[in-house]
C-alpha cells in the first residue's frame, strides 16, 4: 500500500533519516519503535505528506507522492491518511462535536451528512453524551478517544499515530490499545510511532521496526 524507498531527510546538513525502506501493506499494524529524537515522527510526517524527504520515494499505490503538489497532498491527507499528532491538538474553544466535524467541513457533503457521521462515531466510541461539551473540559482518556474519532471521521484508510499513549495512565492505555485492535479488525492500516513498552509483544502488531539515530536497525 505504501512503500518508503531509500528515504533520506536532512536539516541544514544534519542527517535526520538515512536510507529508510519500509513496506506497509494494507491492514497491517506497524510499530515504529525508538527513543525520542530517533526520527519516528519524521517518518510519520513523510508518510502523511506533511514533510518531503530530501531524497527517496514514498509510493502510495505505486505513485510517488513526493512529486505531488501541495494541492494533491492536501487531498491525500483529506481522504487517505489521518495523522494523530503527539499532543492531540484540538480547537480548545469548540465543543467535542464541532472539533470532530472539522475534517468534514472541507468536503463537499451537506450538513446533515456531517451530523450523521459525527453522531455515529461519537456513539460508537461512547462520547455522544459529551458532544456539546467544550473539548477543553474533557479528561485525558476522553480526549484520546476524541482524537481517534476525528482521525476516523474522514474514512481514512491509513491511521498514523505519534506517541499516542505518552500522556495516558494504564487504564486509558489499555482502552486505547483495544481501540487500535478494533481498527485493525475493521481493515484500517495503522502506523504507530512509540517507545512505550505497552506496545511490546502485542500479538496484533505485524511489524516492529526499530529506529535508531535515523536508521532502521532491525
Amino acid at each position: 500500500m505504501i512503500k518508503l524507498k531509500k528515504v533520506y531527510k536532512k536539516y541544514n546538513d544534519i542527517v535526520i533519516l538515512e536510507d529508510i525502506n519500509i513496506d506497509i501493506k494494507q491492514n497491517e499494524f506497524i510499530l515504529l519503535d525508538g527513543v525520542s529524537g530517533s526520527g519516528k515522527s519524521t517518518i510519520l510526517s513523510i508518510i502523511a505528506g506533511i514533510l518531503k524527504p530530501t531524497s527517496g520515494e514514498v509510493l502510495y499505490m505505486g505513485e510517488n507522492i513526493v512529486s505531488y503538489s501541495d494541492y494533491f497532498l492536501s487531498d491525500y491527507r483529506q481522504n487517505i491518511v489521518s495523522f494523530i499528532p503527539q499532543n492531540f491538538y484540538f480547537f480548545e474553544n469548540l465543543t467535542l462535536k464541532e472539533n470532530i466535524s472539522i475534517p468534514l467541513h472541507v468536503k463537499d457533503i451537506n450538513y446533515k451528512e456531517i451530523e450523521k457521521k459525527v453522531t455515529y462515531l461519537l456513539d460508537k466510541y461512547q462520547l455522544l453524551k459529551y458532544q456539546n461539551i467544550k473539548i477543553s473540559a474533557l479528561s485525558g482518556g476522553q480526549r484520546q478517544r476524541a482524537v481517534i474519532v476525528r482521525a476516523l471521521v474522514n474514512d481514512a484508510k491509513i491511521i498514523l499515530c505519534d506517541e499516542p499513549t505518552s500522556n495516558l495512565d494504564k487504564k486509558n492505555k489499555d482502552i486505547f490499545l483495544e481501540i487500535l485492535l478494533k481498527l485493525k479488525e475493521e481493515g484500517k492500516t495503522l502506523v504507530v510511532a512509540s517507545h512505550d513498552s505497552s506496545f511490546y509483544n502485542l500479538d496484533f502488531i505485524d511489524k516492529d521496526i526499530k529506529i535508531d539515530d535515523g536508521k532502521i536497525v532491525e
Binding site: 515522527s41 510519520l44 510526517s45 502523511a48 506533511i50 514533510l51 501541495d70 494541492y71 492536501s74 487531498d75 491525500y76 491527507r77 483529506q78 481522504n79 495523522f83 499528532p85 503527539q86 491538538y89 480547537f91 474553544n93 469548540l94 464541532e98 472539522i102 475534517p103 468534514l104 467541513h105 472541507v106 468536503k107 463537499d108 457533503i109 451537506n110 450538513y111 456531517i114 474522514n154 505519534d162
Partner: protein, 390 residues
C-alpha cells in the same frame, strides 16, 4: 462553500470576545467617519441647493463703509443696463428678540411679483394667498418653530418694530426644505409686514437681486454696476459660494484631526488582528493543513471570518452614524461643524444617502482590513505544518 461558511462562523465564535472587540472598534471608526461624512454631505447639499436658489447678482448700497438700505429707484436704473433680464427688490434683515435674546432672519415675500429665489418660488406655490393675506401671518423655519414653542408662543407672536408699536403675527405653517441648516432660522412675512417690523422706510429696500440671462456676461454686468453705482457692493453667486466654503472650510481641519485619530485606531485594530493571527492561530492553521485543508481553503475561511467582522462593523457603524446624524441630529459633532452659536436655533441635517460615499468608506476601511488580515494567514498557511508534529 456552505461548509466553509459554517466553519468560519464556528471560528468566529471561538474568539468571540476578541472578534467582538475588533467589531466594536471598527464600528466606532466607521461611525465617526460616517457621521462626519453624513454631516458634511448634508451641509454640502444644503449649500448647493441654497446657491442654486440664489439670484445671479446681489447689489447692496454702502454709506460710510457700512451697508444701508438701497433706494428702490435703483431697480429701474438697473433694468436699463443691458444684460440684466430681471431685478427684484428684497426686504429682509435679522430681527433681535429682546427677552429670549436671540435673532432670526426675517424675509419679506411679494406674492404679486416674480421672485428670483427658487426656494421662495416653491414656498409661494404652496400658499393660499387670499388666506395668508387675511391677517398677519408668518411662515417659519423648523428651528424658529422650536424656539417659539419653547417660549410657549404656539399661535402667534407679538413683534416690536422700531416705532415700538405692537404687531401680532400668527403662525401660518412651517417652512419645509430638503435641508434645514440654513433656512431653519428664517421667518417669512408679507413684504409690507416685513418692512414694518424691520423698520425699512418706503422707497427703500434691503438690497436688489438681479438675473443675468447670459451667464458669460456676469463679469461685464458687474463692472457696469460698479461704474454706474460707485457706492454699491456687488455680490455674485460665486462670491456667496466662496463665503460659505470659507465658513465651513475650517471644519476640514477638525475633520482631518478626527480622521487621523481614526486612522491610527484603525492601524491598531489591524496590528491587533495581525498579532492574533500570528501568535494564536499558527498551530490551528497547521492542524487544518494536517487534516487536509488546502491553502486556498484556509484563506477562504479566514476571508469569510474577517469579512463577517469587517462587514458587521461597517454596517453597525454606518447605521449608527445614520441614526446619530439624522435621528438625533448629531449632538457634539454638530457643534463642531456648525459652530456653537452660528445658529441660535437647532438646525436639522437634511437626509442625504450617497452610495458613492458608502462605497468610499467601505473601500478605505473594510477592504484594507480584510487584505491585511489575509496576508499573515496566507504566509502562515504556506509554512511547514510539521512544526506542530515536532
Amino acid at each position: 462553500m456552505l461548509n466553509k461558511l459554517n466553519l468560519a462562523v464556528l471560528f468566529l465564535y471561538r474568539y468571540k470576545a476578541k472578534h467582538f472587540g475588533i467589531f466594536l472598534l471598527l464600528s466606532v471608526v466607521v461611525f465617526i467617519l460616517g457621521s462626519v461624512l453624513f454631516i458634511s454631505m448634508s451641509i454640502k447639499k444644503d449649500l448647493l441647493s441654497t446657491l442654486d436658489a440664489q439670484a445671479d447678482i446681489i447689489v447692496q448700497r454702502y454709506e460710510g463703509g457700512r451697508v444701508v438700505d438701497t433706494p428702490q429707484k435703483w431697480l429701474w436704473e438697473f433694468l436699463n443696463i443691458k444684460g440684466i433680464s430681471k431685478a427684484e427688490g428684497r426686504i429682509y434683515g435679522r430681527h433681535f428678540f429682546e427677552q429670549p435674546e436671540d435673532a432670526f432672519m426675517i424675509v419679506g415675500i411679494d406674492f404679486f411679483d416674480t421672485t428670483l429665489d427658487n426656494d421662495l418660488k416653491n414656498l409661494i406655490e404652496d400658499i393660499d394667498i387670499s388666506k395668508f393675506r387675511e391677517k398677519n401671518y408668518m411662515i417659519v423655519g423648523n428651528g424658529v418653530r422650536k424656539f417659539f414653542d419653547y417660549y410657549e408662543y404656539y399661535d402667534y407672536y407679538i413683534f416690536r418694530p422700531p416705532d415700538r408699536t405692537k404687531v401680532k403675527v400668527w403662525f401660518y405653517k412651517n417652512f419645509k426644505k430638503e435641508s434645514e441648516i440654513l433656512s431653519s432660522d428664517t421667518i417669512f412675512l408679507d413684504k409690507k409686514l416685513a418692512r414694518k417690523i424691520l423698520g425699512i422706510k418706503d422707497g427703500y429696500i434691503t438690497d436688489i437681486a438681479l438675473e443675468i440671462k447670459n451667464k458669460d456676461e456676469l463679469e461685464l454686468v458687474r463692472q457696469k454696476l460698479i461704474i454706474s453705482h460707485f457706492n454699491s457692493r456687488i455680490i455674485t453667486k460665486n462670491d456667496i459660494r466662496k463665503f460659505y466654503t470659507n465658513l465651513y472650510n475650517y471644519k476640514t481641519g477638525v475633520f482631518l484631526v478626527i480622521f487621523f485619530i481614526l486612522f491610527f485606531t484603525f492601524l491598531y485594530i489591524l496590528y491587533h488582528r495581525y498579532s492574533i493571527t500570528y501568535k494564536e492561530e499558527s498551530k490551528e492553521i497547521s492542524l487544518l493543513r494536517i487534516m487536509g485543508y488546502k491553502i486556498s481553503d484556509i484563506i477562504t475561511i479566514k476571508l469569510f471570518e474577517s469579512f463577517f467582522v469587517a462587514a458587521g462593523g461597517y454596517l453597525a457603524g454606518i447605521l449608527g452614524a445614520f441614526f446619530y446624524v439624522y435621528l438625533f441630529n448629531a449632538p457634539l459633532l454638530k457643534d463642531i461643524f456648525l459652530g456653537f452659536k452660528n445658529f441660535s436655533v437647532e438646525p436639522e441635517f437634511g437626509y442625504v444617502l450617497d452610495v458613492e460615499m458608502l462605497i468610499f468608506i467601505f473601500m478605505i476601511i473594510v477592504i484594507p482590513f480584510i487584505l491585511v488580515v489575509s496576508y499573515p494567514v496566507f504566509k502562515l498557511s504556506q509554512t511547514d505544518p510539521f512544526e506542530i508534529v515536532k
